[in-house]
Structure formats: structure tokens, C-alpha cells
Amino acid sequence: MAVSAAGEPDDEDVKRCLHDDGPIERPIGSVEDKWKLLPAFLKVRGLVKQHIDSFNHFVNVEIKHIIKANEKVTCDADPTFFLRFSDVTVGTPSAEEDMIVSEIKPQECRLRDITYSAPIIASLEYTRGKKEIVRRRGMVIGRMPIMLRSSKCVLHGKSAEELARVGECPIDPGGYFVVRGVEKVILIQEQLSKNRIIVGKDNKGKVMASVTSSTHERKSKTNLVTNGGAILLRHNTMTEDVPIVVVLRAMGVESDQEILQLIGMEPTYVEGMAASLREAVVLGVTTQAKALDFISHKVRGFSRPWGSSMRQSRVDEARDVLANVVLAHVPVVAYNFWPKVVYVCQMLRRMISAQHDPSQIDDMDYYGNKRLELAGQLLSLLFEDLFKKLCAELKRQADAVLSKPTRAAAFDIAKCIRQDTITLGFSHAISTGNWSVKRFKMERSGVTQVLSRLSFISALGMMTRIMSQFEKTRKVSGPRSLQPSQWGMLCPSDTPEGEACGLVKNLALTTHVTTDDDEAPIARLAMNLGVEDVHLLPGLDFGGNGRCTLVFINGMLLGMHRDPDRFVRSLRTLRRCGRLGEFVSVQLHPTQRTVHIAADAGRVCRPLIVVEDGVPAVTPVHMSELAEGVRDWQDFIREGLIEYLDVNEENSSEIALYERDVHADTTHLEIDPLTILGVCAGLIPYPHHNQSPRNTYQCAMGKQAMGAIACNQHERIDTILYLLVYPHQPLVKSRTIDLIGFSKLPAGHNAVVAVMSYSGYDIEDALILNRASLDRGFGRCIVMRKYSANLKKYANQTSDRIVAPPSATGAVKSVQLQRFRVLDADGICAVGERLQSGDIFVNKQVPVNTSDTITNTEALAGAGAEAFRPSPMSYKGPPHHDTYIDRVMISSNENDHFVIKIRVRSTRSPELGDKFSSRHGQKGVCGLIVGHQDMPFNDFGMAPDIIMNPHGFPSRMTVGKMMELLAGKAAVLDGHLRYGTAFGGDKVDDCASVLVKHGFNYAGKDFVTSGITGEPLAAYVFFGPIYYQKLKHMVMDKMHARARGPRAVLTRQPTEGRSRDGGLRLGEMERDCLIGYGASMLLNERLVHSSDGFIAHVCQKCGLLCHHLGCRNCRTSIHTQPMRLPYACKLLLQELQSMNIVPRLTLSDT
């Protein structure tokens, strides 16, 4: 054991270095204060740290690697020419306007519709002319959109006051981009992990092993499949499947014995390989040369990268494919195939054992096999592609210029660098969401989404959303169902209903997604800890009987270890000491006899308290230090009290949920069970008492709830903004609510609810509202809408303009002036004016001639009114509802001359049909608004704000809602907010005793008197505050009816849709009913008279449509008959005629 003796640190040494602060055996911390670690965690990591970390890693580390990998641009025409990028950095966000570079703030970008981006600054050296080598620094090669709150963002490290000063909300988590004024989120993408052996079944039910290799250069998928007992290798570069033994021979393992030794000498494996070995013999492939020759006939002529024009023999080509394309992630140095051979044999071993034991088949949905792709990774893919494109462009230009024999001046390639390639590439990709990376043939759409600012929760929920690559249309339940390995990593409740159910997921509260960690030092460390290098091992050790375990790092075979338990323990100890990255995971797989060290990006992990010898490492002493502020989250990590576990490592750990469950074998302790939920489900009080789908419904509805959306909400000009006038913070909170700042940006009201029947207007979940409550501001909301006008510049130097409203002189009648009422002298509406439907708010004019060049300067000045055509923007809104101009912003950006944004505002009180919901997935519309005097009242004279029908409870089983009512009532009575935290919270018993103490019934049921009869109700009524959300669906936005109105031009049928004041369609099913009923007159009225009835003239002689004065075809008018038919029918006949089909009508009297 020469290797281990050289470098392995003694276990005791490691332990000493970890616990240098003395023995750990101290009293156990009490369960109550453990959750206080969460605020510390969120203070350091934030809610969207995964996005920010990923982006930071990209702009600080990854981008440099990419440049380094593609640093050189050469020229075919001139061998002395070169361009080399030596360094690259991303600057601070700025904007360049009229050659002036100025720092920009995100809020400015939102308002002015510009991109929040920073220059990518490169240092380069290149040849100019013959001998001169130029070095340039500070060359801007493009602009990179900057993620808010990332290390490059101006908001980074700013305090709340500083954030407020730059117009930013301190509670906003960041993690998104502002591209052309639109907030865009790059959603987390979930995919199967790369470079890992996955044993599964093909569509015939046969066992197969597959590996998706991914390197910087290429991605390829290698499959091992079975065909009649023999195992074959399937790869895109091969025209057909190649027997695996042939492949192994081609890689230099010629003897059958060696192959079997590499796989394992146990009878199962020998038998499993028998058919394959026989096949090779049958094929006559017994040597490496024969094998390569065999494979060379199967290799598809693949397009080699430009530059290597050297012709190769087919055998060399086959060898190259085996070395570089098949299992590309296993490096083959100087055609030493040994690591790859071992890897293939491992795949075979896994496959054969899975053939005998189905439990060895990997679960595709197991979350340890999944990787999450974040903004940084996606951007780095894009950047590498764009950078290669830039380099290719430069090369093409260099080729073009340098191939010409004579040149006027020395060719300066730096002048050819176009910033737009990268700048536009980024902004286009982010704003459309289409990710196309040519070298991987990747074509993905919907990668980015507009950040939903409907409510604070919807924005936050979007930042934790995970999209699956799985197609939505497929009707399989596997990928959609909740996998046990998702415990603690993904929220079990927060997923949409319907087609994306289970495919769109959300991160749990404390989940972190890793970024790439350099694997070389880890490999070195592993070697020092006694791993025997794979290159140095004889075949015998891999399979069979030796007590040895293979060590993989990021799916790549590193070597073998003889004492895996100690190896794993030492690695973990080192990690707890901080000698290894905190996110590196080590997993011992006992059945496969492998140790997996993972340091790759995209693994989900979460923090857990370390337990050693049955004692949690975190003690009350630590907690009190945390409370005093002398200790922070990083200290816990640094001292190895808390560590991050990924899904794989979690699988080999024993995690206690509560401290009382800790026993001798326990390795970790949960910080708090509430962390298994995400931010949306975290809002629900007592979610553990609800029927599970109700929590899912609330997760969807919480995103539609109105309230405060951000601290800078009044400074924002969003397309539509729903705000509550008087939002409340909930009486029954949860820890999550405190952690995410929901109580500062709440969305709802604490409504006093009486659970009783009232009138008949409360059936089907309808709610009864108290008019007095509405008068006092309950559910009152502000709806703000944006209208924007851009003044365009045209090619012929003309541009749009805004003119003052016409004054009441002469020809202009005062009635016509009515429409210009709200305009100021500058032609733009004045702030505070009341808008009515039809009012003009921007008096814009567009030049008539935008294509021809106008030479006359006078015409250019636009003095002539005839040169412009009015194109005013007018307001269209519901009648009898007040809307006001809230804000007018005039600015400019690089695309348009002027940007004018107008925000209009209307305040709405709840009305019949508006939608409300509690936090338990119990939505309902307002069915009736009742005056205070008619509402039931309790002994204190209190009338409820909302009456909810008790039928909402039995089938929904939302016990949490009842508990919320009790806890809320207790909160009101003793003036202390209550907690309904998941798997915890205030006890019902405690709340009930508070009620009793204040003279209320212990069950929350009050003696209630009817407000109508004045007599007591014959039942006690469950009465108390419940947090109600007003949802964005309001009747005013949806109500629509028409008697008559516009018609479509082509068909003359009524238009469709509310926005076009359309008709209500009598569809085919309704038509069928009328036909079935025999209501022919009604049918005729609906389909012809009230729709597109038309009198056409038909020539009875030729049967074609004709002019009413006579048929031009028959040159007579005597056969012409008028006929009533739908205009669409007339249109059809004419269209048929135009296609040389003659529809002839035969008329007869009925």
C-alpha cells in the first residue's frame, strides 16, 4: 500500500483538526431554536442563491475557461497571422449612448426599455502587418446581460437604504435579467445527469446501459443493448450495432479471459458474456487489427471539424471514433484505451447484474440521476457558441482580406470585432427564450419567461421553478409523480395542475444547486487517500473476488480503493474541515461496490446538521452565539457543524427528523421539517392538516393573489399591475412567511368569516360579502395599466411626432374637441385627468411618406399638415368606471427616438363575481353583497366580512383552515400573532384555551343572531378571522355582452372576442340542439339574420352568382333571382370559382 502510506492523513489527525475547539459532547440543543438557523441560512444564501451562484460562476470563472479554450484565431491565407484572446472580464453594468458610457441601474433599464448589461472586456494580442504584434487591453467584444444581485450587478452588497436610493426593492430577490426593459428569468432546466452509467430497459423490455457523454467539444450518447443474448454497442457514429467484444478487441483487449476478468469472473458474468464472446468468434474477429477493420466498415463518414483536412485511413478513423467519440467523457491519451476498456467493462458488469436482478435497474426518475441546468450554464453554452461564431467571423474576414495580394494599409483585425454578434445573440436569446447552440445541435425554446409580477409570491415562485425536459404531451406517470428522493429538495405541493403537472416543479426552501468544482485537486486528494490509479491495475482486480471498490469522480473512473469505508469517512472529514469544497458529495454504493465523488454542477443539495456518535454537532451554545451575532451560517459550515448533502449522499445517510429520533447510527439531523416545502406552500398555515391537493391549489392561487408586489411598486410601469389598497399581514403566519418577507409585502386581508349558510347566493362556494366592509376598504384594489407610445424614425429622415390638441377655432367643433380633453399643451395627457372611453391620450401623428427621400428641407421640418396623418392613441375601457392618468414618463432609448409610457389607474371595490380565496385552495366568487344591517352578528355586535358556506368543508377536508380560524381568533383576542408553520405551529389546544380565557367558546363557535329577523340562529356559528386573498380574476375585466356591433370585414360575421366587442357564438353543439328541437326559424334567425345574411342574385340559367341587373355569363337578366344566404356562403362559392370549381345553384320554390 505504497500509495496510501504516502499521503493518507491519519483519521485521528483529521478529527483533531475538525474539533480543535474541544469535545463535542455537550447538551443537545432544544428543538425550538433549531429553526433559527434558517434565517441565518437565507441571509447568506438568499432565496435565489442558486441562480446568482451559477451566474457568478459563469462570469467569474467559466467565461475565462471558454476564452482559453477558444483563444486563438488563425488564418489559412497567412500562416504568420494570429489573434489571441489572453484574458476576459465582465465589467460593470453600463449603457453607451451617443458615445458616452454611463453606469446604469436596473430600475432605469426597466423604465426605459433597455438591457441591463455590462461590457465583456477582453485583452488580446494579434499581428498587424507582417511583423508587428499588437497587444490591446480593454477591448469590448460584446455586452452581457447582467443578472440582478449577482457579483457584477450594481446592487451587489448594497444595504436596504442604498437599494431604496437606486429605486430597487430590498425584498426583491434578484436572479433575473432585464432585457429590453422586460424582466426575464432563465428557468431552471431539469435533465438526466451526464457522464453517468444508467441501466434501464429499452422498449422491448431488454436491459440496456446508456451513457450520455458531455465534454466541452461534443455530446454523444452511447448505448449497450442486448440482442439475442449478445451485447452490442449502439452509437450514432456507427451505421449498425457493433458486438461489444469486437469493440473491446479494437480497444486492445484481445483475449477472452482478460475481458472476463475485467467484467468479473463470477459465473453470472461469465454466462452473461458467453453469447457475446461466441459472436466475436463467429465473426472471426480475434485481434485488434481485425476488430478495427470490422468497426471501420460500420463507421459513418462523420464530418470532421474544419482544419483537419488530413486524409486518414478507415482504420485510423475507426480508432479515432473509439477514442474520441464513443464515451467521449473518458479521456484517451495517446491511444491508451485502458481507462475506457475498464469503463466499458463496468457498464457490462452493471448490465449483466441487472439482467439477473431487476432491482439493479436504475430509476430514471430518481433525483440523484438528475441535474439542474441554471442560468450560468445555459449562458455559458450560448456564450461559447457566440464566441466561436465571432472567431469564425474574424477568421473569415482575415481570410478574405489577407488572401488579396495588395492592401492599402496594414490589416488591423481588432477593428473587425463586431460587438453585435455577442450582444444581440444574448439579448435575442434571453428575450425570445430560444436557445440554439449549433455545436450541440441544441434547439430549445421557452427557456426564459417573463418574470410574473402579479404578486410578490408569483415572482418568487418563478425564481424557484424547475422545468423538465420531458414532453408535456406524453401520458406517463413516472416523471410526473413525486419521487421519494425529492424529499427536502423539491416542494411536494407546488406544481401546476393539468398538462404540466409534475413536470414543472419548485425548489424547497433550503435547496441549493451546485456549481462546477474543479475536479483535479479532488482527484489528487483521492489519490493521496489511497486510491490506486486505474492505469496501474491488472484486470483481475476489477470484477471478481477482491475486496476492492472502484472510485469514480464525476462519473469518470479514477481508480480503486481497498478500504472504501475509511476512504469515504476521510473524505467527509476533510470536507467538514473545509479542505474539500462544501458541495462535493461522496457516496459509497455497496451493491455496485463503487464510490462516487461528485463535484459537478447542477446537483441539488440541502444543509443538514451533522450528528456524530449520536450527538448533534449544533448545540445551544452555538445557537446563542448565532443569536448574539458572533456566529453566522458560514461558521457553521466551516466548523463542520452543518454540511450540504446531495441526493446521492443523502441516500447513504441516516437522517433524523427530530432530535428525539437521534440514535447511535444517525449521521444527520434535519434543521426543520418545514424546509421540505417551497416558498409558495410555505404561506399556507397548518398545511400538514390539509388534504394534499388543496395545498397544491393554493400554491397556484397564491400567485394570483393581489397585494403589494414590491417596495418600488409605485415606481414601476408594468403592463398591468394589481395592487391592494389596504393589504394586511396575516394573523396566522408561518416561519416561511417571516423568512421570505411576505409580511412586508402581503397579499390579502384578515377577514372575519362566519361559516354558515345565508340566502341561496352562497351555493357552489360563493361568498357573501358585507357591504360595510367593502365601504371601509375590504378587497379594494388598484389596477394600473401601461400604455406606451414610441416615436419611430423612418429611413427617409422623417419621424413620428406629437402635436398639441387642436384649439377651438373655426372649423373644429367643440364636440370634436371633447376627445382631446385630457391632453396637455404638449399633446400628451396630463397626470390626474379622468379618462373616459374614447379619450385621446397621446396625440401622435405619423408621416404620410416614410419611404421616399425628401430633399426639401421645409417638407422635412413637417410644416405642412398634409405631410402627417393623425394616429392618436385613444383609451378604451369599461363605461361608468373612473380611470385616471397616474404617471407619464418620457424617455428615450437606442431603438426609438422617444419612449412615452403612460400609466393609468383605476380603483375597484369588490363586486358580484369577483374571485376570492383563502390560503387553503378554497376559492369562491362573491355571490351577494349584503348590507351590514342584514348580516348576522354575535354577542359583541360583530358582523362578519365574509360568510362562507359550510358545505365547503366536508369534501375539501381543509382542516388547516379551521385551525387558522381558531389561531387567528386567539391572535386577535390576546394581541399576539400566531404561527401555523408546517409540522409545527401553535397548538389548537393552546388557541382554544385563549378563546375560553376571553369568554369565547373553545371551539370557536359563537352565538349568532340573525340580522334580518333579530332572533338567534338555531346553531352556533364558527366565527373568526381567516386570511383571504383577492384573486386577479375580476368581473369587470371579463364582463361582456353585445346586441349589435362590429363585423369582420371578410366574412361579415360578428367579430370574435371581448376585446373586439365580439358576438357570443352559437356553436355547433348549440346548433345541433336547435336542429334536434326543430326550431328552424330560430336557427335561421341566429345563423343568417343576426349574423351574415346577404341578398345575392343567382342566375337560374347557369346557376352562378351574378349581378342583380343580369348575368354576364348568360347575357340576360330574365333568369336573375334574389336569394338570401349567409355572406360566408357567397364567399365560399366565389372562392370555389376562383379555383376553377363551378358551384351551380339550382333554385326551386318550396
Binding site: 365601504d775 380603483t907 348590507g931 355586535g941 343572531t1009 332572533e1015
Partner: protein
């Protein structure tokens, strides 16, 4: 059959149901008043209303009266009458409230209509009797009160650390100043109209922001909008009545006393045995703790007296509560008179129609 007008003559089990609402632990029973005159006809008892008797029996005791709240008992009336009074108090007694707001300047972050809404809800102390409802007529001094609110926020000149950084940052209701219209100055000299409370926060300002609005108060009732409601709340409850099915002695009595969170029970010496008695039934809130356990429900009977209404009128401060009750009774009386008149008119009209018909018929002949 000569029915007696004595519900007291009812057999005990019926009399109990007639007079009391029983608050069992699961649900209240016998909640509605037997109104039909002939309910007890088979027992020879007449249940019809006798006005004289009502006049004789009805009792009003004012239990407490402060500037804001009045508590009084009304005994001997039916629930509909009590409820009518409650309903009128809530929504039909007129008050003055800000109805129109003319925004001259508003650079605060509070939107104009929200500001107007907030202003509207401020209770105004002004005697509504001295105003008319505006209806569709023009505003004038007889139907409108005018207030002006001018507020501006500036940086505080005093830069010391403990001083407020801004002056005028909080706009309070005290800043509403009455602007007398016409002869109002003289008429209201004794008690100038003003907001009831001086410390109602209307808006918060920051330096550079200002508000200048003119508010017009009008007379209205709570039916139109809750801002005109003169009461914070007005309601009644029935007098609790606690009796014992069987006497509660000794340790049980102490247990019962401890059971009640509102200390309704006392322990008295009855014939040498410490016995529980319901000493303070008024303070009972009908929380049913004393009948929660089945064993206790067998011993204790929790009831409410059907015709004993404990009224509580809590004024917003615009008018004293006793005045509100008087006004409400006035409205009730007026309603009764109106109804009586309406009936009379209808009768007269019906008679007239008959007469007319007769007359026409006669003419025809």
C-alpha cells in the same frame, strides 16, 4: 272559547320554551318567538299582542352611558322590534361625512381616490339635524360643510439626531380646518364642526410632497355608504339565565366556579352547604364552558331570556349615543307613522276606486 291572555299560565315546560332560548352545548334550541296568536289556543291561552299590556310591561333601563357608549336593557319587546332599532341605528340615522373631495394638489404617494376614501371615513362632529340632504340640488350652506386640508412636508431644520427628520410627515385629521360657508360661521359658533378624533392618520408625506384638498361634507345614512353610519356598532344580546337542574354542592361548586372564565358563579352557603349560584349572569358570554362536559350539562342549564335585550350602542363620536338612540326611535316612529299613513291612503284609495267605479257605473246607467 274565552282565551286568557296569560302566557304565564302555560305549563312549565312550555313556559320555559316560550320565555327562554336554551343554549345547549351543541346548538341553541327554541330560538324563535312564537308569534302566532293561536299557538296555545288548544290550551286556552291567547298569544296575541295586547298594546296596553305591552305599554305596561316594557321597561328600559340605562345601565351605563358615556360619551361614546350606551348600554341599556330593553325588556318586554319582541325580537323584531329590537332588531328594527338596531338596524336603524346602523344604517338609517343620518350623520355628516365627507362626500366630495376637490383635489387641488396631491403629490403624496396616496392616490387621489384612496385619499378621498380615507377622508370620507373620518367621523365628523356636526349636528346633522341642522342640515338637509342634498339630493340633486346644488350645494349650499344648508346642505354642505366645507373642510380644507393643507399639508406639506419639509426637512426639519433641527438636524440633531433625536429630532424627527421631517416636519409635517404625518397628515392627521386635526389638520382638517372648517371653512364656514354663508352664515355657517355664526350658526355654528357654539360648536364648530370638526373631526371627532384629532389623531387619525390620513397620509404620510416626505419632503417635497404636499396635499391640498377641499372636502365637502354632506348628510347621508349608512345605507348609502358605511361612512355615514353613526355607530361603530350597535347591537344587542339576550340576557343569559343560568339555572341548575340539580343543586351543585361542595367541591363541584368550586369546580364550576373555576370552570367559568368570566366568573359568573359564586359559592353561597345554602342551608349549611356551599352551593354554586349564578351570581352575575350578565357577565356570561355564553361560552358554554359550564355545559361543555355532558356531566355538567346535566346539572347546569344555560339559557337566555327571549325578551330581555341588552343593547349596546357604541357611537363613532359624531353624536352622543343617547342622542343616537333617540334619533333612531324617531326614525322608527316616523316609519311606523309612514306605514300607517300608507295603509290609510291605500284604504282610502281603494275605497275611492270603489266609489269611482260605482259612480261611473251609475253614470252609465
Amino acid at each position: 272559547m274565552a282565551a286568557t291572555r296569560r302566557p304565564d299560565a302555560l305549563p312549565p315546560h312550555l313556559s320555559d320554551k316560550h320565555k327562554h332560548v336554551t343554549c345547549a352545548s351543541d346548538a341553541p334550541t327554541y330560538t324563535s318567538t312564537p308569534e302566532y296568536a293561536g299557538v296555545y289556543a288548544s290550551l286556552g291561552i291567547d298569544n296575541s299582542l295586547d298594546l296596553d299590556e305591552l305599554r305596561r310591561e316594557v321597561r328600559i333601563d340605562v345601565k351605563s352611558l358615556t360619551a361614546d357608549e350606551m348600554v341599556f336593557d330593553v325588556v318586554g319587546i319582541d325580537a323584531p322590534i329590537a332588531n328594527a332599532l338596531r338596524r336603524i341605528l346602523l344604517v338609517e340615522v343620518p350623520t355628516m361625512a365627507i362626500e366630495k373631495v376637490w383635489v387641488l394638489t396631491n403629490t403624496s404617494i396616496i392616490q387621489d381616490e384612496v385619499l378621498a376614501h380615507r377622508l370620507g371615513l373620518i367621523p365628523i362632529r356636526a349636528d346633522p339635524a341642522r342640515f338637509e340632504e342634498r339630493g340633486d340640488s346644488e350645494s349650499n350652506e344648508s346642505n354642505t360643510l366645507c373642510f380644507r386640508l393643507t399639508a406639506k412636508c419639509t426637512h426639519n431644520a433641527d438636524k440633531s439626531t433625536d429630532a424627527e427628520p421631517y416636519t409635517g410627515a404625518r397628515v392627521l385629521s386635526s389638520q382638517l380646518t372648517w371653512v364656514p360657508q354663508g352664515d355657517q360661521a355664526a350658526g355654528f359658533a357654539a360648536e364648530p364642526p370638526r373631526p371627532v378624533h384629532d389623531d387619525i392618520l390620513i397620509a404620510k408625506l416626505r419632503p417635497g410632497q404636499e396635499i391640498e384638498v377641499e372636502c365637502w361634507c354632506e348628510k347621508g345614512v349608512g345605507k348609502t355608504h358605511a361612512k355615514w353610519s353613526p355607530v361603530a356598532t350597535a347591537s344587542y344580546r339576550l340576557l343569559p339565565r343560568i339555572t341548575f337542574h340539580q343543586p351543585v354542592h361542595g367541591p363541584l361548586a368550586a369546580e364550576l366556579k373555576a370552570l367559568c372564565p368570566l366568573d359568573v358563579f359564586d359559592i353561597e352557603d345554602v342551608a349549611g352547604v356551599p352551593t354554586a349560584v349564578a351570581a352575575r349572569p350578565r357577565s356570561c358570554t355564553v361560552c358554554r364552558e359550564c355545559v361543555r362536559e355532558p356531566a355538567w350539562a346535566e346539572r347546569v342549564s344555560l339559557q337566555r331570556v327571549r325578551d330581555h335585550f341588552i343593547f349596546s350602542v357604541e357611537s363613532t363620536g359624531a353624536m352622543p349615543p343617547d342622542r343616537l338612540v333617540r334619533d333612531a326611535l324617531g326614525v322608527l316612529k316616523q316609519k311606523a307613522l309612514d306605514t300607517a299613513q300608507l295603509l290609510k291612503d291605500t284604504r282610502a284609495q281603494a275605497d275611492g276606486d270603489v266609489d269611482m267605479a260605482g259612480a261611473v257605473g251609475a253614470a252609465d246607467e
